[in-house]
Each structure stands twice: as structure tokens, then as C-alpha cells.
Symmetry: D2
Subunit: 344 residues, 4 copies
């Protein structure tokens, strides 16, 4: 049993983290920390949680101590830097849901996040915690950079192909659509229902900060072909749908590709390989990533779907916690596991 | 630990029942029965459930035996009649999610459901299982008529007032809006997204079959004022939102009304009394009924919200099962209860 | 042919006014005026209008002169007061889409709009411009207070009944649902798609500023029964759906009620009396008000639907302009009229 | 002034055709023809049209004569074949909104539409009526195959590039999302709001019948690179959003690409070239195609949006009619044109 600190508990991902910690069998207790919202009650932010969680006090980040075993950080980009170095140097486990430690190369932060990194020495010791990918290593680890929502969908969909077929790939075009909750809770006219209802739009077509994160991981596995990544907003609150069009320089067949994916994911409880393209609603409110791979001669179309706030953030973060402590990765996430583990 | 039979497992409420039974701590096993879908796999109906439930075999209702302790019936109106008498005479517990046993008066079935009731002797021994209402009695009981979705919202909102203030009531106007899932899964042009997206409409304004069900229960508590009930479709899949406008013949004050509701529901874990009108999303995917009562001199406006498939059907049905067996009514419904009960 | 000034052109109603003026056969030219947005181009606010309107310059309200024949004012409550007295004293026609001149009684502005009225002498000479109601008088008139969106729906639905049956009415409960555009374009977290998608909520249950406006007009026609009015938000951008439950102290029959409505509206081109409850989408993007009246013994259920930005604002405003100038009230609104009028 | 016959008037595209014909300045009269719906009234299919159109009689296709100058055919694939040969041989103009004459090669109909073409001699004399593309020729023409909705978006987006840069193109990946109205009005469970609300899914990933139609037109302009086309359903009723990722074998710059598109579309009133990705709502309910082309070194991302029922069907069909008769292509479509043409 461990104690958990949740820093930044009043956003969409914070809400999910609190719910997970509240029901996780091995989380003995948790505390919520915030800057602006300190002293308020969680129920004022999330009336839906009344009756569902036990601890609703929002503590001040100024009172943050080292009393917890693990800290989830759910803060805007650039703010995790203020807390993580001290937590790590005090021997604490940290899962950072923001982007501050995802990139390996210090210089990229200036380009993509517009700040100078103040604790770049941690970039090398952290793990990029793509929890469902079998080769992700959790040994001797304290700091996990939880992947971005888009990169989670893209990497889980493409890595098996890149690892096994990179030399045959001519080009990869990723077209991803996200629900509006990916843009956070801050009020913006362009995200109001009056504007987005019945609407769709591409955004950041000239460059999204998740693109270097994706390429960093693909290149590590040998990818060096032409790549594009275009992001869009859907008129739904939650979910990411990815369509990756992979053009090859020679034919492949469906069976060999199926086998590649099966072998990579056969022990991954949250990856569901599908015979048909998934529907977004199959994964909303779950930690699953559903993937279909359709081979058409020299083109492969991969479609996949995740919940951006769960698999793309808080669910994967809890999964990363489970892996850090050597627990079953489904604990606290899938009810059935809790039930099986229980003795009545 | 009991064994459960679920008859009619391929509709929206069937899906939820299966999920509840799958994770309920005191349901040792369950079997799914269907007419048309016998022999098929549950995953073909609900791809979202892959990895979430254990038993996915759809058995034939023709093979229905008395092996289970309790049966949930989730069939269209008129079909429960084919199974319930035999189950009851064999000493089984039955929770019927359809309307076949909700009304006490045989003649009303001809008027509202257009059939002649073949087992009217059961109408008197059944309980109308409004699970959250404290005075609902489960002693010596085998057959529970699970309330309709609209009646659940209306009765939980109005009964405290009717029980305590009926002589002051001039008129009650109930205006209820439901998500489209309340109309079932059968394909109809008027329920397609192309038609309902951005749309709203009233329907059955000249008479909805839930109206006699509501009045039956109100009248039992002394109601005899003018009453109206109008139903509408919302452009959302799930949820019911009720606005009850109660006109009085004399003033009341907010405090006395608050006290009435508090006293009725102080021990009801799924009723959340609110200081402001609830939002529909606070209750979607939960078994809660959120209620706000606002007093304006001689008018009381009650707004309430439920998930039509859970509180208005399957969640309440499981709650009724819990009550039939004397278990905590939140078991299998609220995760936290499962956690508290577990010994690791 | 007249010249029109549009003050406040960058909101949702301003957009519609510009489109109407651009295509109106008797509007020779129009100018757009704004405070904050002066100097900018209309296309930056409404990219959808590119290619659809001729004049896109946003002029400063500081440069407002008396060059136009008629002025539409589409400003937030309290701001029309700054412009209207001078326009009226210079002999101009004014249609005010805000609430500043709708109420007859000066004191009510302090209660409902929280300001002291600076030109209350105009309250008596203005007309409350419920354009589709036959008895609205436009003679010798300069200032039209364009009705609020909710009052338009409520009054068009109830006035025929109140005028003819007021002594039989026990109570009237109005439950109205509006799309989010009714709340304007200003960014608010609670109006973001992430919050409102799949959501519904009642708001201002303890008092909406449209309630005194409605009662003022009902009382003029003899209404003195118990009345309630409750407003809700729908997860759609546009439209208002009203359900008025009228409880009577004696029975009426469908035919006599039909006749009342028919006689009132037989010459109203934008009122469509329906045999079934209307659907919201029938009226969205139109200037129609669709009304169904269903009699159930001693209860009458009236359902009606309008586009809140058109019938509830800009369409009705153009209709008011047509009436002020003695033109056919459909000019500039219904295409067919334009076609019929054209000589090729 | 001409007379128009509309065959298949009770579907979504039929509705729009009727509205266009009703208000078109040069359509003197129109008649609606249908098979199943003959004898019924148009208002029973489209209550929203009450008060908006003049002629609502649905005639039987069995009574189809040669009285009209032009015929719009809005029938399911395979049914146009029953009417078009006779209409053409009687010297009538025909605009076919279905797919029966879009492909040039007879054999492709068996593969993609599963029927043997009975009037293949017309395949060579028809024009593929991509109305907004400058090189589309309308001389000596009787039969126009109106392009499919997806092909309209794809071809208007890609043809300028293909015509000017085909030798530099490595691969083109088209990812298109459509509203559900593209699937027609026939009731299907998977298209109900209960299923599609908040949902997204890819479909026909292994081959959509619009793919050969697109390739046919691209190849004519010199395209011979790797191509993919993947279709998806959006949770909205109307609109198509296209993202085309073009990978090149050498760099290009934004200015040269802008110039290519400008030169192609400078005289196209319904093409709006945009500096940023368009939003779907900018084009819904209009005949516009909005296009953004963003150059990123060796990758070009093209995003475009159309209304699938207007630009992708009925609006383009009316534009094709205008072109066949040598009228301004905006007539009957853009209000402003009607106004300018009118003499009051």
C-alpha cells in the first residue's frame, strides 16, 4: 500500500487521477495539491464526483512535502519543472503527465515549448512511459514521462510496423482527430459548443508539439522515411481517432502484418487488435487502445482509437504506477481484476 | 454468492446488466439468454465489451432452466409474460425491467400496452421496486417490477412533496427530456443521427404509457391534483432530465421543503440533493438521481437528472437484487464499496 | 430603398442582421458599427461570410452619424441606452434587439437588469415588437423593442389562449430549452463543448430576466393565474423549444382551441400551426415559429420551436423593419418573395 | 425559363434540389417524381418545407414524360439506368446525381457497383461535371454525371497540384470524414444517434466505390504515384472534411503552391482559398468548397471542407444546370445574385 500525491487536481486529467487513486486497491491514501484552487473543495470543481470519492480537500502546493511515495503531476507544460527535481532528489517516484520531460534533447524544448529547460539532467534518466509497449523498461526508475495523448495513439499503432518493416516504408501520413477536452478546461470562444457543435477543423497544421515526441520514438526503432502528422478537433468531448496511411515500396500481405501485431501485443491487456476499424465509443471511458491494420497491396491503413484523458493521460499514468511498483498493470483500472483479487 | 440469468441480453439495458453481473462481488456466475440472438457471441453485439466481461455466450431462451437464483428480464413489453409465471412458481427471484407487471390494475394493460394480461394474479404480489425510496418494501418478495425510466425520475422527485404537502398542490406539470437510447436499438429513420443531431421534439403528447404508472404511485400517497406529463427526445444518447413545476395554493419556504427532502433521502446513497439544478452529465454512467428543489413563493421547481439505462433500468435493477438478498444496496454498483469489502 | 446602420455587428445576432441587410431588396446599403472591433474586417469574425456579403468594413461607433434611415442595435443589455435617445430625437427609426426598452416600468430595470434607466421617457412611446402577433401596432412609431428570444416563443404560444380563455386558466408552466448561442459569444468554461456535449441543465431557476417581459405582455391580455417559467440549456448551438403546460379549471375541446389559434394566425406567414409537436430542426435557420396545441381534457400542452437568433432576434428585427416601412413582412427573409418580386 | 423534372425527390439530396428549383430565377416550374412515394405530399416527408416551396405534389415516375427541359436524377445507384437513355434520346438535358455514369470504363461497374451496365455507350459522351474546375467542358453536352461527394472534395483539392507537380509526388494519402447524411435516409441501427453520438469510425477501408472515380480523374491529369483514400463517419449530420497528405520527393515553397491554386481558381466563385485550415461549419448549408494548402518542406497538407448534400450533390447539380444553359453559375444558389438581377 502506498501514499500518492496528485499535483494539479482540478483539470480534466486530474479528475480522472483522483477517481483512479480513490478506488485503487494498493493506494492507501492520496492528497490533492493545487496552486490557485488550494483551500477549495474538489466538489466545487467536479459536482459529478459527490459520493464517489473520499478525500476532496484541495491542498496548497506550497504545503507539498515528501510524505507520499509517488506523485502524479498534471500541470500545464513548463510547470512540472518546479516540482520534479526536488521530488526525485528526495527519492520519490514521479509520473509526469505533462510534456516537460518527454523529449530527450534539451534544445527541442526551446523550439516546441518555448522555454529553456532547467533540469535537463533528468531527461536521460527518465523513461518515456509508453505503458502498453512491451519493450518499455521500468527497472531502476524514478521518473516516468507519461506520453502525450496523440503520441500514445500514433506510437502504439506504428511501432510494431516500424520495428519490423522500416526499410519498406515510403511514407507515413498520420491524420488524428481529438475531442475538445484535449485542449483543457480554460474558456476559449473557439471551443464553445456554439462554435464546435457540428464542426470539425484541422489545427496547428504547420507543427504540433507532439510531432517531435512521436518522431523521437519512431527514429529510435529505425524509422527514416517521410512522415506527416496533422491534428484536428472533433465535435465530441472525449477521444482520439487516428488514421495512419503507410505507403510501402513493395507489397506485403495481411497475414504477415497481423502476425507482427499479434506478437507485439499478445500480452498487453489494454491493446485490442480488431478485424474491422474500431469505433471511438468502444474506447471512450476506458484505458483500451483499439487497433485495426488493413493491408491493401502496397498500402497499409491503420486505424486506432483511445480515450485521450485515460489511455492518453490518467489511465496510462496509473498503469505506469502499477509497473513502477511491480503490480499487475490492470490494477485499479479494470474492475474485474479488483474483483478477482478480492476475498469475500 | 448467487447465480443469475439475464433474459434479453442484446439490448442497451441488457448490456449494462451483463457488466454489473460480471463485476458484482456476490454474483458467482451469470448466463445470458436470448431468442433471436441465441448461439451468437455477445462481442458481436457489443464490441466495446471485449476484455471486460468473462462470459459472452448467448444461450437460447428455449434452454432456460431453473438453475439460477435470480432472473433479470430485459425484454420488450409483453414478452416477460412468457417467462415470469413459471419462474415465480418455481420459487425464483425475478426483476422485470419491462412494463408488464408495473401497473396494479389489469384493465390498464389493454389501454396502454394493447394486450390482455395473462398472469394478472401476480400484479398484486409484486413490488413496484422504486429502489431509492425508503418505504419500498422487499419482505417476502419474489417479483420486482423495476420502474420505468421516466417514472423513476418523476417519482423520486415528487413523492416527498406529495407525501407531505399534497393538500397544498394546485397542479403539477412534468416536462421530461430523454436521450434516444430510451427508444431502444431498433433502427428507425426518425432516430438516426442525420435526423436527431441538433434536434429536439416532444412525442406522445396525447399520452405516454408511463403516465398511468406515475399516477398510480402518486395517488397511493394522496395525490389528487391536476397533473400533466410531457415527454421529449434530446439529441444525446443517454440521460433523462426532468423539470417538474408544482403550483401551490399557498406559500411555502425553501427551508421546510429542504427538510422534507433531506428526511426522506438522508439514508439513500444514490440520491444527491443539490443546491443548484443538476447537470445531466453529472449522472450519466452512474446510478445516481440528482435532485434540486427551488421554492419561489407559491411555485416549486424541481429539476432532476438520471441515466435512463442505469438508474432508470439496469442500475436500479441491480440495486433491487441487492435489496432482495439483503446486501448493501451499493454492492456491484459503486466501486468504492467493492474496494472496502476486499481484503488484499 | 433605405440605408441601414447595424450597431454591434460582431456577435451572433449581428452576423444574421448583416446577412439579411445584404440581401434585402429594399436595403440600398448598410454600415456596420462596433466599439472594440472598429477598424477590423468582418471576415476575421465570420470567415463563413467570405463571398456572401458585400460590405465588410467595421466602422467605429464613435463615427456614428445620422446618415441612415434605420438602425439595428445588437448590443449587450444596458448599452443601447447610449445611442437610442439621440437617434430617436433625430427622427431615425430604431429596432433594438437588446432588453433596454422592452419593459414598460422603469423600476423593473433596476431589479432585473441592475441599472437605473437613463431614458425612461421612451418606454411609453416604444412598441414591443412581437412581429407575428396581429394586434401589434406599428403606426406613428420610431422605436421598436424587439422581443427577447424566450418571450417570442412563449408569447406566440400563449397569447391566443390568454386572450380567449384567461378565466379558465388555473396555472401555466413554461419549460423552455435553448441552444447555447443564446448565451452569446463570450468564452465561458461552462459553455465549452467539453462541458456541454451530451449535457443539459436548468439555469436561473430562481428568476430569468425574460420572465417580467413575458408577464407584462400576458397581463395586458388579462392573465392573472399562477405562472412559472424555467429555462434550460441544450447541447445544440441554435434553437428554442418550449413546452407550456396549461392547467384549466374546466374541460375544453381540441376543435375550439384549434379555431382560436387559426383565427389569430391565419394571416401570419411565419407561424406554422402543426398537427403534431414540431421538431426543433424544422425551424432552425428560418424565421418560422412552429406551434402545436394538444388538448387533453382539462390540460392543454403547447409545444413550439423557434430559431433563437432569427425568429428570437434578427429575423424578427428585419420583419419589424418591414412593418415599420409598410413592406411585405417576408421581404428579405423568404427567398420566394424575392423571386416573385423580381422581373427578369 | 425552363421546366425541370426531379426524379427521386424524397431523399436528402432531393429535398435540396426542390428548394433550389423553387427559388431559381430561370426555373419556371418543376415537377417531383418518385416510385414508392407517388401520390403523397412532399410535406409529409419534409415538414420543414411547409411555407417554403410552391409545388409539393409527388408524381409517379410511371407518368414521366418528356415535358421538361432538364431532369435531375437523385436515385440510388443502378436506378438512373432505367430513365436516362430514353431522356437523352429524346433530346433532354440530364444531370445524374448518382454514380451510374461517372466511371468511363464499363467493367468497373461490375467491380464497384455490382451490376452490368446497360447503356455503356453513354459513358463516353457524358461529362464528369466537376463544376468548379475550370477545364470542365459543357459544350454540345446533354448528360452530366454529377461527381460523388467525396470525389468533389478530393479532386478540387488535389487536381491543381497533380496538374502542375505530378512528377514530384511520392504519395498521396486522403483521409476524409463525412456526416451521416451521406449514408442516406434509410434506417440503420449503426447510424442511429444512440450509436453515433460522440462516435467516429472508419468504414470501407478495404475499398470505397468513390476511389476509382477519384483515380480516373487524377490519372487523366498525369497522376501515377501511390494513393490511398480512407473514409470515416463523423457524429454530425452534414459535411465532408478532407485531409490530403502529399509527400514529395523534393522541396517546394508555399508561394509557388499558392500561385498554382490561385491561378486555377481565380474565377471560381464557389472556391474559397484559405490561409488557415477551414472549419466545417464555414461551408455547411452552402455551395462553397474551402481549401487550405500548407507547405512543410517536402510535405503538403491540404485541408478542405464541403457540404456533402450541396457542393457534393444538389448545389453542384444546379451549378451544372446553370453551365449547361450558359447562365451565371451562381444563379439560384447565391442570394446576392438573385438580388442583383432583380429590378424592383
Amino acid at each position: 500500500m502506498i501514499s500518492v500525491g496528485i499535483i494539479g487536481g482540478t483539470g480534466y486529467t486530474g479528475k480522472k487521477l483522483i477517481q483512479y487513486c480513490n478506488s485503487h486497491p494498493f493506494v492507501e491514501n492520496y492528497k490533492i495539491y493545487s496552486g490557485k484552487s488550494a483551500g477549495e473543495n474538489l466538489y466545487d470543481y467536479f459536482p459529478a464526483l459527490v459520493g464517489l470519492v473520499n478525500d476532496t480537500k484541495i491542498n496548497s502546493v506550497n504545503d507539498l512535502s515528501y510524505e507520499h511515495d509517488l506523485y502524479f503531476i498534471a500541470l500545464p507544460h513548463g510547470e512540472s519543472l518546479n516540482y520534479i527535481p526536488a521530488l526525485i532528489s528526495n527519492g520519490k517516484y514521479v509520473v509526469d503527465l505533462g510534456g516537460d520531460y518527454r523529449l530527450d534533447v534539451e534544445a527541442l524544448y526551446e523550439k516546441w515549448y518555448k522555454y529553456s529547460h532547467s533540469s535537463s539532467y533528468l531527461l536521460k534518466t527518465k523513461t518515456y512511459g509508453l505503458a502498453d509497449y512491451p519493450s518499455t523498461n521500468y527497472d531502476d526508475l524514478k521518473l516516468v514521462a507519461n506520453p502525450g495523448c496523440y503520441p500514445t495513439a500514433v506510437l502504439l499503432s506504428l511501432l510494431p510496423l516500424v520495428e519490423n518493416l522500416s526499410e519498406k516504408i515510403l511514407s507515413v501520413s498520420c491524420v488524428a482527430y481529438s475531442g475538445t477536452s484535449g485542449a483543457g478546461k480554460k474558456a476559449k470562444t473557439e471551443l464553445m459548443l456554439s462554435e464546435m457543435d457540428g464542426n470539425v477543423k484541422a489545427y496547428k497544421v504547420d507543427g504540433h508539439q507532439h510531432e517531435p515526441e512521436i518522431l523521437q520514438q519512431l527514429v529510435k526503432k529505425g524509422f527514416d522515411s517521410s512522415f506527416s502528422f496533422t491534428t484536428h478537433l472533433l465535435p465530441v468531448a472525449t477521444g482520439i481517432y487516428l488514421t495512419a496511411s503507410v505507403h510501402l515500396n513493395e507489397s506485403v500481405n495481411q497475414e504477415e502484418i497481423n502476425e507482427i501485431y499479434y506478437n507485439v501485443y499478445k500480452n498487453s491487456p489494454f491493446i485490442r487488435l480488431r478485424n474491422t476499424p474500431p469505433e471511438l465509443k468502444w474506447v471512450v471511458d476506458t484505458n483500451f487502445c483499439d487497433i485495426n491494420v488493413t493491408v491493401k497491396d502496397k498500402v497499409i491503413i491503420i486505424t486506432s482509437a483511445i480515450d485521450n484523458l485515460i489511455k492518453g493521460a490518467s489511465g496510462q499514468a496509473v498503469q505506469n504506477m502499477n509497473k513502477l511498483f511491480g503490480w499487475d498493470e490492470t490494477f485499479g483500472i479494470l474492475n474485474k481484476e479488483i474483483k478477482d483479487a478480492a476475498v469475500y
